[in-house]
């Protein structure tokens, strides 16, 4: 391998666009793992639903326990809507960052944070108010798995939205804003995964 060496103007400091591009690819690749996991969860749901082993997808009432009644999918769709609104709020923040409007950036980030908190709490309430326990058949197991995954997604969203808002507030995105772009990639996936979860739960 022939090699020439050329001294760069400043070899230890890369342009923010280069760093941003690299970080964006890394974030997308990590998302590939989460996407596969989420698709795996959907596979589990539809596989067990299709098999309905021993008629225990949704067990009928017995002497020892009541019948498993599936939850209404409207709650899951409502959560997907919350996620979509959060995505729009974050999009509003990103537009502010691109326009060098720090106030818009901070406001959009704060809204996104609050919406993610609403989503987290709402998902927690849905889990705690389900009319069945995780032991009551395959549907119940799958429901808690999907809801649990969505809860974890919202919890992570709260974390990064909090960081995003705080950094916006401190003016750290005044020079470059690739962090905000990457957070948007997460919001897009988080919204999509909520939609996928709601879609699955619409088939009982």
């Amino acid at each position: 391998m022939s090699v020439e060496t050329h001294a760069l103007a400043n070899p230890h400091h890369e342009h923010p666009d280069v760093v941003g591009s690299r970080n964006r690819l890394g974030a997308i690749l990590i998302l590939v793992a989460d996407i596969t996991f989420a698709l795996g969860v959907l596979f589990v749901y539809f596989y067990l639903k299709g098999q309905n082993v021993n008629g225990m997808w949704l067990p009928a009432a017995s002497d020892s326990q009541s019948a498993t009644t599936p939850v209404s999918s409207s709650g899951a769709w409502a959560l997907a809507l919350v996620a979509a609104i959060g995505l729009l709020a974050h999009r509003f923040a990103l537009m502010g960052a691109r326009a060098k409007n720090q106030a818009q950036l901070a406001l959009g980030s704060l809204l996104a944070l609050l919406i993610s908190l609403v989503g987290l709490i709402y998902q927690g309430m849905q889990i705690s108010s389900a009319s069945f326990t995780v032991t009551m058949g395959a549907y119940a197991s799958c429901y808690y798995l999907i809801a649990g995954l969505n809860f974890m997604h919202f919890a992570f969203t709260v974390f990064i939205s909090l960081g995003n808002w705080n950094r916006s507030r401190l003016g750290l995105y005044s020079a470059d804003h690739w962090h905000v772009t990457i957070v948007e990639i997460w919001w897009v996936w988080m919204t999509l995964s909520s939609v996928l979860g709601a879609f699955a739960l619409s088939f009982t």
């Binding site: 022939s2 760069l8 890394g26 596969t36 995780v134 032991t135 799958c142």
Partner: protein, 626 residues
């Protein structure tokens, strides 16, 4: 290896109390906090979790307590090593400054940097090398216990449950060891230099992927104290659901290891895609890089399914979900599908970088260009693509989707075509080459021999009727040892000798490398051909006792296993003695042409003073101006 000067980071007179947090965290604080956290979580779980009563959400309290304690260990360990500092500094808007980044990179810390959350890819590479050796030592010791037990017909000195636990632990420990044995040490240390980068794309994630593996090991080893892993490495449900709490150690191990694999996969792929030196087009990128990227890129989408399978296994055990329990609408086939969708690509996650490493060495030791570079790329791509379409050949005899047996037989047999391409490249490179006979050169021949046997027996096993006869026998065990050990480990050992000078600054003892090579290769072939024979005769695997008619084959295999053990111990001695007292290595002892041999020993902190610009391919041996 020493890459930087050793001197204290704190000014004289500064007390330890004044040192910032990141300077106080290391492996000892990690273990300390991990143990304390595990005890606290264990106590809280025991105190507050309800008993196993009707209506309780806890199915098996002992499993729930065990899993919670292990989670406590995990969070405590990762906090104690400093993995959470970066995310929380980001959250607070207090990004690391230049000095802190240099501290994380291990600048001026001497040997201490190997015990910290150090981000320098060379440190991480050495850390991976050491942890791989430890993993192989543990797995190898367990293998010898297995062979000692199988030295006599009718059972040996181990109780059946203990024997099963040893087999299961040996299996999963060795699988993990072989997964990381190339991409861990050499993918981290060598790969960034080979592509002309200063470090990995995400240095902190690099450290994270390593320390996650360290965090995963204690739960795994603790399983011996809780009944062991009695299911074999595949941990099939519902068998795993009924296993003692040792199974929780397996689950936690896999969950943490899967996260490590995903993080490493994203990091390595991004590094190669985005950080190759100027002029290093894809046609000029060394074949080893292709092998490493194919391996981690393959792992990235499949390991989450393994992760998912274990999350559901944990839920079944601890809170009574019924994913795998047919009484509650679950299915054992579900587990098997999720497991093998990961399980078969995982074979190629292990094999591809090993073969690619030997393809990297072949031009060096034959002084010829790599034969048909494009064929090698097509072979790697073909194997990677087909490997995710073959998983159900592990399930022919389970009764799942018999109509799919034919298609899966076809896809499995098709994979021999791209595999044959890799053989062609290696043979073509060796053909009429002026061989420089070293241990890595001999390893190329060993790989061709071993992988041929492992591959052809794989074709037998992909055939539905033959698999019906051989499934669950020692023939299968011998087959996958021929691929994972005969091909994979052979490539890893050659890589160790080949890149040892760059990683340590010293030459690997030539005589010891040859002794180890022959002891391992002869012992290996005798041991596993013996295993093929008893497998063909009908000896089942995962059984601690066998009929007298298998005695001869098992005796031969056990004796040959001692030869493998001796070879590996010689190699270990070679590593230690060469590292401490070996001859000082020149910058490029093999006269190779890739960028990793253009940097001095020890490799500077940021690898290159000025970034290189590549102007030709890396295999221009025998060409003018190359």
């Amino acid at each position: 290896m020493t890459t930087v000067l050793d001197h204290p980071t704190s000014a004289p007179g500064n007390s330890a109390m004044k040192r910032p947090l990141i300077e106080r965290l290391n492996v000892f604080t990690a273990f300390g906090l991990g143990i304390i956290s595990a005890i606290v979580f264990w106590y809280l779980a025991r105190t507050f979790l309800p008993e196993n009563t009707e209506g309780s959400f806890i199915k098996t309290r002992l499993d729930a307590v065990t899993i919670i304690a292990m989670l406590g260990w995990f969070f405590g360990f990762m906090t104690g090593i400093g993995a959470l500092i970066g995310p929380f500094r980001w959250l607070l808007g207090k990004d690391l400054d230049h000095d802190e980044s240099m501290f994380y990179a291990g600048k001026d810390q001497g040997i201490k940097r190997y015990f910290r959350y150090t981000t320098d890819h060379k440190v991480v590479g050495i850390q991976y090398l050491v942890i791989t050796i430890i993993i192989f030592f543990v797995g190898g010791t367990l293998a010898m216990l297995i062979r000692m037990n199988l030295g006599h017909a009718g059972g040996g000195w181990l109780q059946p449950q203990t024997y099963n636990a040893i087999v299961g632990t040996h299996g999963i420990v060795m699988i993990v060891g072989t997964i990381i044995m190339i991409t861990g040490p050499f993918g981290n240390f060598i790969m960034p230099i080979m592509i002309g980068a200063r470090d990995m794309a995400f240095p902190r994630l690099n450290a994270l992927s390593f320390w996650l593996i360290v965090a995963a090991i204690p739960p795994m080893l603790s399983s011996f104290f809780f009944g062991g892993i009695s299911t074999g490495w595949s941990a099939y449900a519902p068998l795993a659901s009924q296993a003692p709490p040792g199974m929780d150690g397996y689950i936690m191990f896999i969950v943490i290891f899967a996260i490590s694999t995903m993080v490493a996969g994203a990091n390595i792929t991004t590094t190669v895609v985005k950080m190759r030196a100027k002029g290093m087009t894809w046609n000029r990128t060394p074949i080893f890089i292709y092998g490493v990227v194919a391996s981690v890129a393959l792992a990235l989408p499949v390991f989450p399914l393994f992760f998912l399978s274990q999350v559901m296994s944990a839920m079944d055990r601890a809170v009574g979900s019924t994913f795998y329990d047919v009484r509650g609408g679950g299915s054992g086939w579900l587990y098997e599908n999720l497991f093998w969708i990961m399980g078969h690509p995982e074979v190629y996650v292990i094999l591809i970088p090993a073969v690619a490493a030997l393809m990297e060495m072949a031009p060096v030791f034959t002084r010829r260009p790599l034969f048909s570079f494009n064929t090698a790329i097509m072979g790697i791509a073909g194997i990677s693509g087909l490997s995710i379409l073959v998983w159900a050949h592990h399930m022919y005899v389970t009764g799942w989707a018999p109509l799919l047996n034919g298609p899966f037989m076809l896809t499995t047999e098709l994979i021999s075509i791209p595999t044959g391409m890799l053989f062609l490249v290696l043979i073509g490179t060796l053909w009429r080459g002026r061989l420089w006979m070293t241990m890595p050169t001999a390893s190329i021949y060993a790989l061709l021999w071993n992988f041929m046997i492992g591959g052809i027996t794989g074709i037998y096993l992909s055939d539905v009727p033959v698999d019906g006869a051989l499934h669950g026998s020692m023939f299968v065990t011998a087959h996958f040892h021929y691929t994972l050990m005969g091909a994979g480990l052979t490539g890893a050992l050659a890589s160790l000798v080949f890149w040892f000078p760059k990683m340590t600054g010293r030459m690997f003892d030539r005589r010891l490398s040859w002794i180890a090579f022959w002891l391992v290769q002869i012992g290996f072939n005798v041991a596993f051909i013996g295993m093929f024979l008893v497998g063909l005769a009908g000896q089942p695997r995962r059984v601690d006792a066998y009929a007298a008619l298998f005695n001869q084959g098992n005796s031969v295999t056990t004796m040959a296993a001692y030869s493998i053990m001796a070879g590996m111990l010689v190699l270990l001695y070679g590593v230690i003695s060469s590292w401490t007292n070996g001859a000082i290595a020149p910058m490029n002892p093999w006269f190779a042409k890739t960028l990793d041999w253009t940097v001095p020993n020890p490799v500077p902190l940021e690898n290159f003073e000025v970034l290189p610009v590549v102007t030709s391919d890396p295999y221009g041996y025998g060409k003018a101006q190359s």
